[in-house]
């Protein structure tokens, strides 16, 4: 069960119109080689689920610049001027989601949960078109689960069974996204043999990971 593959093999599963989650926070923890693979193949009409749309030249930003994305679900788009521009021109639709709600919705999508009750966004436009419910005297929004066809993630290290270890703040959304996509592909800096990562040190269990590309090997 060696999940180590080449970047060419990975690209075969990319399809126009797919929904893609990409890990990272302002480009940190974003698998740039996997993003580049989408760019190279010009996979289009993507729905992108990300915490932010990066910068025009970093993170998932280039996917927006190249106009491969038709819909974005994100908490922040301010650092990539192209996102706002295309949104105002109505060439791109954007659903803005509070960052904590985004994390929970993705986690729900990967955990057999239909959604969560959160008070984040109560009294704001985030309420629009959502059900609300009172529990023990507090009003909550019902925020629904999110899933994707594909998750593109980045980790520091993997073993060949797909167990992942992340590095510092490059962890961010990667672990929850590993739960919530039909196909999970991870770019790692280093790949080691099974048994070289202590089970207690695994941050994302390999059973969630389908394919791994290693930068050392892929470049």
């Amino acid at each position: 069960m060696n999940k180590h593959v080449t970047i060419e093999e990975v690209g075969q599963s990319f399809k126009d119109g797919m929904t893609v989650m990409v890990g990272g926070f302002l480009g940190v923890g974003t698998p740039e080689v996997l993003v580049q693979a989408i760019l190279d193949r010009e996979i289009k009409d993507l729905t992108l689920i990300v915490t932010d749309t990066g910068f025009i030249d970093k993170g998932v930003g280039p996917l927006i610049v190249k106009r491969l994305v038709k819909h974005v679900i994100a908490s922040h788009i301010g650092t990539n001027v192209e996102t706002g521009k295309q949104m105002i021109q109505e060439q791109l639709s954007v659903e803005l989601v509070p960052q904590g709600t985004l994390a929970e919705r993705i986690r729900c999508g990967g955990s057999g949960l239909g959604g969560v009750l959160t008070s984040t966004g109560i009294g704001t436009i985030v309420e629009a078109n959502k059900e609300k419910i009172w529990v023990d005297g507090v009003e909550y929004l019902i925020e629904k689960a999110l899933r994707a066809d594909l998750a593109l993630l980045k980790a520091k290290k993997a073993d060949k069974a797909g167990n992942l270890v992340y590095d510092k703040s490059a962890r961010n959304f990667n672990p929850v996204m590993a739960l919530a996509a039909d196909l999970v592909i991870v770019q790692v800096d280093e790949i080691v043999e099974i048994g070289e990562i202590d089970p207690d040190e695994v941050m994302t269990p390999g059973v969630l990971v389908d394919q791994i590309i290693c930068i050392g090997g892929a470049r």
Binding site: I77, L96, A103, T118
Partner: protein, 220 residues
Amino acid sequence: MNAKEIIARRVAVEMQDGDVVNLGIGLPTMVANYLPEGINVVLQSENGFVGLSSVGEVPDNNLVNAGGQHCGINPGGAVFDSAMSFCLIRGGHVDVTVLGGLQVDQYGNLANWMVPGKMVPGMGGAMDLVSGAKKVIVAMEHSAKDGSSKILKECTLPLTGKGKVNLLVTELGVFRVIPEGLLLEEIAPGVEVETVAARTEAALIISPNLKVMQNLASQI
């Protein structure tokens, strides 16, 4: 001392030793520079760790703050994923959050994430922070660049949080949100109450114990 420094200095007084604190990007970040002696706080970074510190000699590309800038992490810090980060934020494990503002009103409403038709950066983690932090402090300049008041009877911009602000600090004073409205508790040295009132659209309640803004006198 410029307006931002006045504000950051005063907000710093609100911190208690051992507090877990989340500082927004920009002016709020400056608060860390003015912590009183003996007050050590644990800074939470919403992208996934506690123990945020200034960047070391060799920047690490995998270690950035919530603004995407290189930073450091203190011994005793801890890294986690974004879900856990917001469990801490929403769950009341952050003692104080300091956020910037576009508008605050007398009901404790805050607007700081979009200007329709102009600027829609997104709310990032701000809505979760105002919703979940134990104490929400807004640190902002008193007036907009065009001179109009940012402290209103009612916010006109889309809200970040409804009735969640506890304290507002500007370069003119310190305002506590109470059920009756905005209570002016402290005023900047040399500023008249009338001046503050004139530059504030919201109705102000003047505290009978009105004081001079703390943590400034020795520096002026």
